[in-house]
């Protein structure tokens, strides 16, 4: 449906060149919900704007529905108004001088050949109904709440049955509760309509819950692409592990093994970890062990001796009660770890505990240096 090849875009800032997008290639199959995830400045919004035609890339090809809309080799650059897309903006961009109806009807009024007044009316009303805004059609946009404005923006982006729906951090301006509601709502609409959506966010929860496929970006490049489950459980880099799931990255060295099944013993700053290695990691090589905060279990009473593999003594110096869980900062030897504890764990920092590292939840990455 959407194919991007070797897309590059460099910005000029204060006489230096900042590469915003660096040779990115992506394929988005028809009907999928595709997410560009990454920290701010990673180039995800630039890609979205290049797809929309609001930015002109330096190089590359963008193809929608098999036809190029941008190509630096073929010298094609279709203006945004000819690309037949729908877009929801971070600021909603609902036009304050128009009524809700006029806002949503706008894309229909631009379509060529012209639509009849009656058809515009019917389709606008249907779009408003699909986002449950039938009651406020005649209100001026500024009199709506944030959530309602968001729905207007969504209806406006969908009313003309665009080829692609582009979503530029649409939820970041909403409060927590509304965000959750809109997350479900957008997901429902997109699936019901069977439309292909490209979603940009820096929020891992949004990305993991809504997407069929995620492209994780850093520094203008796609560092990993896959289903949410893959990205979360099989990070391919320290960055991916840290950005999705707040993994602790612990440097180590393969001290024993690996044996025929790949099991090995790794020396870390705070002790020995028994773990399964990915293929290709040899004895004696330097590696990173990714330990997720939820991969540590506090052993109460039944604590085995400290020398046992995968059991460590940690000191929790800070604990924040989040509600569903307690997040703690722990020290084990010279290392600082982020740990997640059950909400009913009675701890009062400083608190010393013995934890078991659940190694089936850990990932070992070869160190690239």
């Amino acid at each position: 449906m959407l194919a991007i090849r070797h897309l590059s875009k460099t910005y000029h800032a204060d006489r230096s060149l900042v590469p915003a997008v660096n040779d990115v290639s992506l394929d988005v199959p028809r009907g999928s919900f595709f997410t560009l995830l990454g920290p701010s400045g990673c180039g995800k919004t630039t890609i979205l704007q290049c797809i929309a035609g609001l930015e002109t890339p330096d190089r590359g090809e963008i193809e929608i529905d098999g036809a190029p809309v941008y190509s630096s080799t073929l010298n094609i650059n279709e203006p945004p108004n000819r690309r037949r897309l729908g877009m929801v903006f971070q600021s909603y961009a609902v036009w304050p001088h128009m009524t809700v109806f006029e806002n949503v009807a706008f894309p229909l009024r631009q379509s060529r050949p012209r639509l009849s007044r009656q058809e515009i009316g019917t389709r606008t009303k249907a779009a408003l109904a699909s986002v449950r805004l039938d009651g406020v059609a005649d209100k001026l946009a500024p009199f709506l709440s944030g959530g309602q404005q968001q729905r207007v923006a969504l209806a406006r982006a969908l009313v003309h049955e665009p080829r692609l729906l582009l979503l530029d951090e649409p939820l970041s301006n909403l409060d927590a509760k509304l965000r959750e509601e809109m997350r479900t709502e957008i997901g429902r609409l997109v699936r019901e309509l069977g439309i292909t959506a490209v979603f940009v966010t820096h929020d891992q929860i949004e990305a993991l819950t809504m997407s069929d496929s995620i492209a994780l970006m850093d520094g203008g490049r796609v560092v990993q692409q896959g289903a949410p489950h893959d990205i979360y459980y099989r990070p391919q880099s320290a960055f991916a592990a840290r950005f999705v799931g707040n993994g602790n990255i612990i440097p180590g060295r393969v001290a024993l093994g690996p044996d025929a099944e790949g099991n090995a013993e790794i020396v870390t700053p705070f002790g020995r970890v028994g773990c399964r290695l990915p293929t290709g990691v040899a004895h004696g090589s330097n590696i990173d062990v990714i330990v997720r905060p939820d991969a540590m279990r506090v052993c109460n009473g039944e604590a085995p001796t400290e020398e046992t593999l995968n059991f460590f003594r940690i000191q929790i110096s800070q604990a924040s009660f989040i509600g569903d869980f307690i997040e703690g900062i722990a020290h084990a030897g010279p290392a600082t770890l982020r740990v997640r504890l059950g909400p009913h764990t009675a701890i009062q920092p400083p608190y010393v505990a013995v934890v078991e590292v659940l190694t089936d939840r850990c990932v070992v990455l070869p160190r690239r240096d």
Binding site: R59, E61, S71, T73, N75, A93, W95, A157, A215, V222
Partner: protein
């Protein structure tokens, strides 16, 4: 899982990039070309004429020589000219600053009751063309039969008139007073932007009211006041109509009237080369002043602390000072109203006479009837309508396109556009009018109404661009992008989204330009022929004729006509500012 790459050809950097002829590029390029031609053409003409040794108006000087400059600044005449200009500028600015800042302090920082009246009069003053107030003062203070002179002579039994309007002092007084309203508005802004908590902090820490004023308030206000002073100095240096109405008879030439005299010499060959040399010098002074102004405002921005709206300082109680303050303010209004009152008086009399009870019996409307039926005035009236409507409309159209380019394009193009359109603000109107005269002298456009329209568009687009671009800067760019992605072309986006959203400022700018185009005398008088007379130049012609009663009637009609546009506009824009300020609060 690495990203899969299908068999599309890998991109190679392209050598040539085709330029797409989208409508925004075409319209933008046309608008830019128009602006470059409008601003650049006359300036080029001015400089090349000033360098032409033969003194002829030309784009290709036969040689380059400083002859004109040397002649222009040969003593002893030059010394008088520079001294006059310097005194005139300094004197007028001091008067405007003293009056403006006292009024601003009274209305912004004290519990003075006549606040609304001050604002109303100050805003209505925009409807009074400066040269009209000068004509009023001439009727009040001329040494022969000026109303005030006659009054003083009879009251004190004086042998001669004590006051003379035809003097440098009178010129300074009239200019200073006529500039006090804009000065008041600017200084009110400076005082309003100050963070008053800084002052309170000084008082809490033990400073008395006077010490707090001297050590905290005054230093904080200084950059702002200095900026206002420099801006107004630039306005006075450029001022043409008051020195023209008063200074020519008084034989007190300043730079601006000297250019006019050289360019339009009635009995001799016009000295275009000399006039151009003066023009270039005046332009240099104005650019120097605006550079200084920009520098100081940049400094004063640093002093500016963002304050929450609604934080109002405690107003000082005037107490016993209320009575002298009221008297002074009323006296100021009297001074403002007097020239208009005498014009009204004389417009109702068959021939010029000083106000008296006996003359009341002769009051008549015949001057107004005459003015209405005179072919010259009828022509001038229709010309003015055409001038005002086309200037305001075309200028605003250009302003919108040019502002869009300067706000939305990131590259050097945007900056260049900004500089180019703002340039006419620094160019004295008389210099510009003269440069336009030089450029169109040998074209059929010369002598037509079109040349005045072209001149006004060039001058006023700068102001329009300033208003439009500041409001466009506040528009979130996503509002525009949303329209583009929805399938709207650039023109539709501008028409349906951008312009409606900034419509209040566009309307405001349109009316501002319309008013200033109608009241401007500088351009029409320098470019005047029998066919392109407008109301301002017609008024001057009748005054010179001299037919003082009819000139007065026409002046009164102009002021009333302008007031009908200006006063509702000013009230509306103040209300609009208040409303948009308060609605921002409701949102939270």
């Amino acid at each position: 899982m690495p990203p899969t790459v299908s068999a599309l050809p890998a991109a190679v950097p392209t050598r040539s990039r085709r330029i797409h002829l989208s409508e925004e590029r075409v319209i933008g390029a046309i608008a830019l070309a128009v602006v470059v031609f409008l601003v650049g053409g006359p300036l080029l003409m001015l400089v090349s004429t000033s360098l032409n040794p033969s003194g002829e108006a030309t784009l290709m000087p036969a040689g380059v020589a400083a002859t004109n400059y040397l002649r222009a600044f040969s003593p002893p005449d030059t010394f008088t000219l520079i001294a006059n200009t310097a005194f005139y500028t300094a004197g007028s600015v001091v008067i405007a600053l003293v009056v403006g800042s006292s009024l601003a302090w009274l209305t912004e920082r004290t519990d003075f009751r006549l606040r609304m009246l001050v604002r109303l009069i100050v805003f209505a003053w925009l409807a009074v063309p400066p040269f009209v107030s000068a004509l009023g003062w001439i009727q009040l203070l001329n040494p022969g039969n000026g109303a005030i002179n006659v009054l003083l002579r009879t009251l004190f039994d004086l042998p001669a008139s004590p006051l003379n309007v035809y003097s440098l002092q009178a010129m300074i007084f009239v200019t200073g007073i006529s500039m006090s309203p804009t000065t008041f508005i600017m200084i009110s802004g400076v005082i309003g932007n100050m963070d008053h908590r800084l002052e309170s902090a000084a008082q809490v820490h033990g400073a008395g009211r006077m010490v707090a004023f001297r050590r905290v308030t005054l230093p904080l206000l200084t950059p702002g006041l200095l900026a206002v002073a420099i801006f107004q100095a630039m306005v006075v240096v450029q001022m043409f109509d008051i020195p023209f109405a008063i200074g020519l008879t008084a034989r007190v030439p300043v730079m601006s009237t000297r250019i006019y005299a050289l360019a339009t010499a009635a009995d001799a060959k016009p000295e275009y080369g000399l006039a151009a040399a003066f023009g270039v010098v005046l332009l240099a002074i104005a650019i120097l002043l605006i550079g200084l102004y920009l520098r100081i405002t940049r400094v004063s921005e640093r002093f500016r602390v963002v304050t929450g709206k609604g934080y109002r300082p405690v107003r000082q109680k005037l107490g016993r000072a209320r009575i002298p303050a009221t008297v002074l303010v009323l006296l100021y209004f009297l001074v403002m109203l007097l020239p208009l009152a005498i014009l009204l008086w004389n417009s109702l009399l068959p021939y010029y006479q000083t106000p008296s009870v006996s003359a009341l019996a002769k009051l008549t409307l015949q001057n107004y009837r005459h003015v209405g039926s005179e072919p010259l005035i009828t022509r001038a009236f229709w010309n003015t309508i055409v001038l005002v409507l086309s200037t305001a409309t075309i200028s605003m159209g250009l302003s919108i396109v040019v502002s869009w380019i300067s706000v939305r394009s990131k590259a050097a193009l945007g900056r260049a556009t900004t500089v180019l359109t703002f340039a006419p603000i620094a160019i004295p109107q008389i210099v510009f009018a003269f440069a336009i005269l030089l450029l169109y002298l040998r074209t059929p456009l010369y002598g037509s109404l079109a040349v005045i329209i072209v001149a006004h568009i060039t001058i006023f687009t700068a102001f329009g661009t300033r208003m439009v671009s500041s409001s466009m800067l506040q528009l979130h760019h996503e509002l525009e992008n949303a329209a583009k992605v929805s399938g709207a072309s650039w023109l539709v986006t501008m028409r349906r989204v951008v312009v409606p959203l900034i419509f209040p400022q566009v309307l405001n700018g349109w009316l501002w330009i319309a008013t200033h185009s109608a009241r401007d005398l500088t351009v029409p008088i320098l470019l005047m022929t029998s066919s392109n007379v407008v109301l301002a130049s017609a008024l001057w012609t009748i005054w010179e004729y001299p037919n003082i009663p009819e000139a007065s009637a026409l002046a009164v009609m102009m002021v009333v006509g302008l007031m009908v546009i200006v006063v509702p506009l000013q009230i509306w824009s103040v209300r609009y500012a208040d409303r948009s300020g308060s609605s921002g609060k409701d949102d939270r």
